[in-house]
């Protein structure tokens, strides 16, 4: 805490007022309203709300489609995170040497961070295009299997995973490279003198020492793939084919805006809220405590 404080009766309130006002109106009010709405359903003409208790949640719990959407979300987020991090860590460890031009490489790796997930998806959609895309064309030399994501759910899933991993990849790689450079070379040399091979050295020393970076990237990629990939789904697969790529956020939006089932969508928002709270709690429980009150 600061020792020096200014004294003023009303100024601090004026200073926090804009932030508090926006937080109350656009965060707290809608959040509480989501909680309230989740207990209602709209009447057939949409003119009034009918209280139905926990019926929306019962419906979610009994609907196979919702469980599929939950599973899809977790498979998607997990694949994006694990594939992305594993690949980045592998390449970063292989590329970990004192070389010149690291800053230049970093610049060349980081720019895809600026591309919107939706735009990344559109570009990859064409690369995957069953008739004109370069990827199915290349694969047609190896196999006769039709990699048509319009028809095959798992290909559509691979498409959005690849697009998301691509967008995040340079970023993950840059962070791992920086983390590796920070590890004391003497520790690794000592282990090497003691006869530990490169793989042993990696798992016994490098990986544990990198765990803060891994943890940070893990939460970041999970949050990204869970909550910031709506545009990717909306612009590329629209949840399809069928509901193969219909992640939870997309479903909540679709039921609310397309289906106009306000209460049902709000109930899904409440479930999402629980996911965020869990992720945040996880982050603060296992990370060193970085926020002090």
């Amino acid at each position: 805490m600061k020792r020096t404080v200014f004294r003023n009766r009303w100024l601090p309130y004026a200073l926090v007022a804009p932030q508090v006002a926006i937080t109350l109106v656009f965060f707290f009010w809608p959040a509480f309203d989501s909680l309230r709405l989740s207990l209602y359903r709209a009447s057939p003409f949409g003119d009034r709300l009918i209280f139905i208790g926990l019926r929306n949640f019962e419906r979610l719990a009994s609907e196979a489609a919702y469980f599929r959407s939950v599973a899809t979300s977790f498979v998607f987020s997990f694949c994006v995170t694990v594939v992305g991090l594993a690949l980045a860590l592998l390449l970063a460890s292989l590329a970990n040497a004192k070389i010149r031009g690291l800053t230049a490489y970093r610049s060349l790796l980081l720019w895809p961070y600026g591309i919107a997930p939706a735009i990344a998806g559109i570009v990859w959609l064409f690369i995957f295009h069953p008739s004109f895309g370069i990827l199915p064309w290349l694969l047609s030399f190896v196999t006769t299997y039709q990699f048509n994501w319009f028809l095959k759910g798992w290909v559509a899933m691979v498409l959005i995973i690849v697009a998301a991993v691509w967008k995040q990849f340079g970023y993950n790689l840059a962070f791992y490279l920086a983390g590796l450079q920070a590890i004391e070379k003497s520790v690794l040399e000592a282990a090497s003198v003691d006869g530990a091979g490169p793989i042993r050295r990696f798992f016994a020393i490098t990986f544990p020492l990198l765990s803060p970076v891994t943890f940070f990237l893990f939460t970041l990629n999970m949050t990204f793939s869970f909550f910031e990939t709506f545009g990717l789904i909306h612009a590329v697969t629209q949840g399809g084919p069928g509901d193969a790529t219909s992640i939870m956020v997309y479903r909540a939006w679709k039921d609310g805006f397309d289906g106009l089932q306000l209460g049902f969508s709000a109930a899904q928002s409440v479930i999402l809220m629980i996911v965020v709270i869990t992720l945040t709690a996880f982050q603060f429980r296992y990370a060193e405590k970085k926020v002090t009150y």
Binding site: V5, A31, I134
Partner: protein, 297 residues
């Protein structure tokens, strides 16, 4: 003893030399491997953008040709003009720029002020305000989809720049970043300012603000990219094509199954949409890296 010691030294010396020599040879190899891996990574990462750029210069026949053409062609001007006129790209990019700038600058101002209040004043309810800001971390847009739209329509902010920007201006990250930074500034500065008769606002303006320049730049890059690329929010609060931002506005150019596969036009629009945020990152590289590290703390 003395001989032993010097012998050991000599031994250590030779060991050093051997190690240095070995290290030199090893560094050479691992260095080459490192360069190779990084160059391949950079190329793989760059390929989709290259492909998009190339497609955006081709004619429809070339787009549809197999094997795919990987070299630029001559139809660029035509495609870009086509994309520009079909979706009203000028308006879309203008909207995106307004949203990105307003969100970035608004958020910076708002979080600077509240961080200043929290770091430099004692006031009743401070804990509560801090807690409130913290909780916003747990309320991203997807968890309040329907209700937020209702709030916006109650305010009459659907299809307005107010609706597109103001709700995105509050967040915990900026406030925490500035507060953290203010706590590292020595108290003596504020004391000196007070002795010189400067009020709190004067202190904020003449001392804190210049000191925060690097943090402001870092946050600006992150927030500009965030504002430009936000998808769900503008999709919810706008109905008229005039108020859409570029990332959602170009959606109608993506050929669906039954349409003419004019991917050259689509890619032209995609390139125009992705260029501004990428340019901001490239130009403000130094602050961007700093911002990435700071905002995630």
């Amino acid at each position: 003893m003395a001989a032993d010691a010097s012998g050991a030294q000599v031994l250590a010396g030779t060991a050093d030399i051997v190690q240095v020599a070995r290290a030199r040879r090893r560094v050479d190899w691992s260095g080459r491997l490192a360069h190779a891996i990084l160059i391949v990574s950079v190329a793989v990462i760059a390929f989709p953008l290259y492909y998009a750029l190339v497609i955006s210069t081709q004619t429809l026949d070339q787009v549809m040709s197999l094997p795919p053409r990987l070299l630029p062609s001559t139809n660029a001007v035509h495609n870009y003009i086509d994309a520009w006129t079909r979706v009203g790209m000028g308006r879309l990019l203008l909207n995106s720029a307004i949203v990105a700038l307003a969100v970035a600058l608004g958020k910076i101002v708002i979080s600077l002020l509240s961080a200043f209040a929290i770091a430099y004043f004692n006031f009743r309810g401070k804990q509560f305000v801090f807690w409130m800001i913290f909780v916003t971390l747990m309320l991203p847009i997807p968890v309040r989809i329907v209700s937020t739209y209702q709030v916006i329509s109650v305010l009459g902010w659907v299809d307005t720049y107010w609706g597109l920007t103001v709700p995105l201006m509050a967040s915990a990250t900026g406030t925490f970043l500035f507060r953290q930074f203010f706590l590292t500034i020595p108290d003596s500065l504020a004391e000196a300012a007070q002795l010189d008769g400067a009020g709190p606002m004067r202190f904020l303006w003449s001392i804190l603000l210049p000191l925060s320049r690097a943090n402001i730049a870092a946050l600006f890059v992150i927030l500009f990219v965030y504002g430009w690329n936000e998808y769900l929010w503008p999709l919810m609060v706008t109905n008229s094509p005039n108020m859409r931002t570029a990332v959602i506005g170009i959606d109608s150019l993506v050929p669906r199954t039954s349409q003419l596969p004019e991917w050259n036009v689509t890619m032209a629009a995609a390139v125009m949409t992705l260029l501004p945020p990428v340019a901001v990152i490239v130009v403000m590289q130094r602050w961007f890296v700093r911002g990435l590290i700071e905002t995630e703390k």
